[in-house]
């Protein structure tokens, strides 16, 4: 059946049909995405109902993995840790990025140089950053081992998790700072001028103008943070190897799948990750209005 036969016109499309591409233009991307993202999604749900050691063929075992998962203390801990990591990351990254971003949007002379330095972590890949911090904090041979009073943060709980929070903040704050900087630039200066005439203090202006005006940016940045934090993997693999209570959900998936070779069980862990990430992302689409068919020039 041809995809282009649909003649139903949607509101907003004007003009003739000449020169309009058929839906077939979008087909290759859809098929490609289907093969490597949608099909795996279906497969992971199926695999979660199987016992599979990665060598033979998966054996269908019904809901056994799910029953085990429900009572698995490791999973319960992983979910708790993922939640804690996400919450802490948000609490650390959002205020700092917001303040830095608003400040960087201002007219200071030295801003450009500082911004360039803030930007450095963005040049490094996640793996590189994790390796850098692991080396810096290594308790015996790292640079910190020569600083006598420095504690072994990696070998203790909860400090190991806090290291992960810190390292990811170090990595991502520059990015969110850029977002907030952009958001703050969009705020009409007239609002501040009016506030100044009213004699409002700087703090009041920040509270009553800047924050409300940044509402959308905060939402976007927060959702990126939450979805991002849910899927941290390299940082944990490199810095702690999941030890000292840092086995978050994606790491548990890796460990049970590729180390303990229980790929069926790992698929059940992965499914929970999909469900949570989907819920968060749907909320994201709802709040940020990505789904609307508006031009980007409207409402800016």
């Amino acid at each position: 059946m041809s995809l282009t036969t649909t003649r139903r016109r949607l509101p907003g499309s004007s003009g003739s049909r000449v020169g309009r591409p058929g839906a077939v233009w979008a087909l290759p991307a859809l098929l490609f995405f289907g093969a490597f993202a949608l099909l795996p999604l279906v497969l992971v749900a199926y695999l979660s109902l199987t016992a599979w050691n990665g060598l033979g063929t998966p054996d269908f075992i019904g809901t056994q993995n799910w029953e085990e998962l429900a009572g698995d203390p490791a999973m319960r801990e992983a979910v708790g840790l993922s939640t804690a990591l996400t919450t802490l990351s948000w609490l650390v990254q959002t205020p700092i990025s917001l303040l830095l971003g608003v400040w960087a949007a201002g007219p200071q002379r030295n801003r450009a140089i500082l911004s360039a330095i803030f930007f450095v972590p963005l040049l490094l890949s996640t793996a590189a950053i994790a390796i850098l911090w692991r080396a810096l904090l290594e308790p015996n041979f790292g640079p910190m081992s020569n600083v006598g009073w420095f504690p072994n943060l990696l070998g203790d709980s909860p400090s190991a998790l806090l290291v992960i929070v810190f390292v990811t903040a170090w990595q991502f704050i520059p990015l969110h700072t850029l977002l907030y900087q952009g958001g703050a630039r969009q705020i009409p200066v007239s609002l501040y001028q009016a506030a100044e005439i009213d004699g409002a203090s700087r703090a009041r202006a920040f509270w009553h103008i800047t924050l409300p005006q940044l509402r959308n940016t905060i939402t976007t940045s927060s959702v990126l943070m939450v979805v991002g934090t849910l899927t941290y993997f390299e940082t944990v693999l490199v810095i702690t190897g999941g030890k000292h209570h840092t086995t978050i959900v994606p790491y548990l998936m890796y460990e049970s799948g590729f180390v303990a070779t229980r790929l069926g069980y790992a698929s059940a862990v992965a499914c929970t990750l999909v469900v949570v990430a989907t819920a968060v992302s749907l909320a994201m689409v709802r709040f940020t209005g990505f789904g609307s068919m508006r031009s980007t020039r409207e409402g800016m």
Partner: protein, 308 residues
């Protein structure tokens, strides 16, 4: 915000937004336009920014200092003291450990990912923006939902599919899923940027009797140049920073990417942290080059979705 609001086709050869590479002294930030906020100096905010500067700067400084020290000095010295006899040996060690090959592989993968993503998303976004049938709207929805699929969650079936295709331990094994997972964000960026092309332009070409292929090539592609460069950079960054796919889908040294190479160096260099950190520094150079050439596109690409 991603520069998509400037739709005037720039006549320059590079698809960048043509900003000067170095920030000018008046502090023209990333965006090339200075919006005066409040003019009063904010000491508190400045102090906060300075603290963060230390948080970023001190580790970077320790990193650079560590890489130019001989191993023996490094073991025995305080990380904050400048080195006595700097050397570049550690960089030589890192380069002699196959780093070039890893970077080359990463470049190949990056080029392939960008090619696939740009080819697929430009056509798709064009269809979504202009066809406006139930089908294209449905496809757009699929990509929107696709945003929600974390690649960590489907890596097991991806491993299975790659095996079925007989691609395990090849660079293609990384390219295909990496490109697929970059699609949703890129479709979003491009539909956004193509919606900014006014209907009048389409009509004018259609009246001339241009078919959709000609409209696509002569109007849509030139007009969405900045969107395409954003998408290209975003896809390139995904390929450049990807870890999980290389980690689980490749194995041999000849197919090793830079992120995995660094990870394996941890074992290989062992306690020779200066050599390891030299490799870390070297791995950042390609991105640094892109940054110097195309600052704005890089930033826009980094932000991906958030840039809207």
């Amino acid at each position: 915000m991603t520069g998509t609001s400037q739709v005037a086709p720039a006549p320059e050869a590079e698809p960048t937004t043509g900003d000067t590479p170095a920030p000018s002294p008046q502090g023209r930030g990333w965006w090339g336009s200075l919006r005066a906020g409040s003019r009063r100096h904010n000491v508190l905010a400045g102090a906060g920014a300075f603290v963060w500067l230390l948080v970023v700067g001190v580790p970077i400084y320790s990193l650079l200092v560590a890489t130019i020290q001989p191993y023996e000095d490094y073991i025995a010295s305080n990380p904050l003291v400048p080195p006595d006899n700097p050397t570049l040996d550690n960089y030589v060690t890192a380069l002699n450990s196959g780093l070039f090959g890893f970077v080359w592989n990463t470049l190949l993968v990056t080029v392939a990912v960008v090619a696939i993503v740009v080819a697929l998303t430009t056509t798709t976004a064009f269809a979504i923006v202009r066809a406006r049938t139930r089908w294209t709207t449905g496809i757009f929805r699929v990509f929107l939902l696709g945003l929600a699929i974390p690649l960590q969650a489907v890596v097991i079936p991806v491993y299975l599919i790659i095996n079925q295709l007989g691609l395990y331990d090849s660079l293609m094994a990384i390219v295909l899923p990496t490109a697929a997972f970059a699609l949703p964000v890129c479709v979003l960026i491009l539909t956004g940027s193509m919606r900014d092309i006014s209907d009048d332009l389409y009509e004018a070409m259609a009246i001339d009797g241009a078919g959709s292929v000609r409209i696509f090539v002569q109007l849509v592609l030139p007009m969405s140049r900045s969107g395409i460069s954003t998408v290209g950079i975003y896809a390139a960054l995904q390929a450049w920073n990807g870890f999980l796919f290389p980690f689980l889908l490749t194995q041999s040294e000849e197919n090793r990417l830079i992120t995995l190479g660094l990870f394996e160096f941890q074992d290989q260099f062992g306690v020779n942290i200066p050599a390891l950190l030299s490799a870390v520094v070297l791995s950042a150079i390609p991105i640094l080059i892109v940054y110097l050439i195309a600052r704005r596109s890089l930033v826009a690409g980094l932000m991906g979705v958030g840039g809207k």
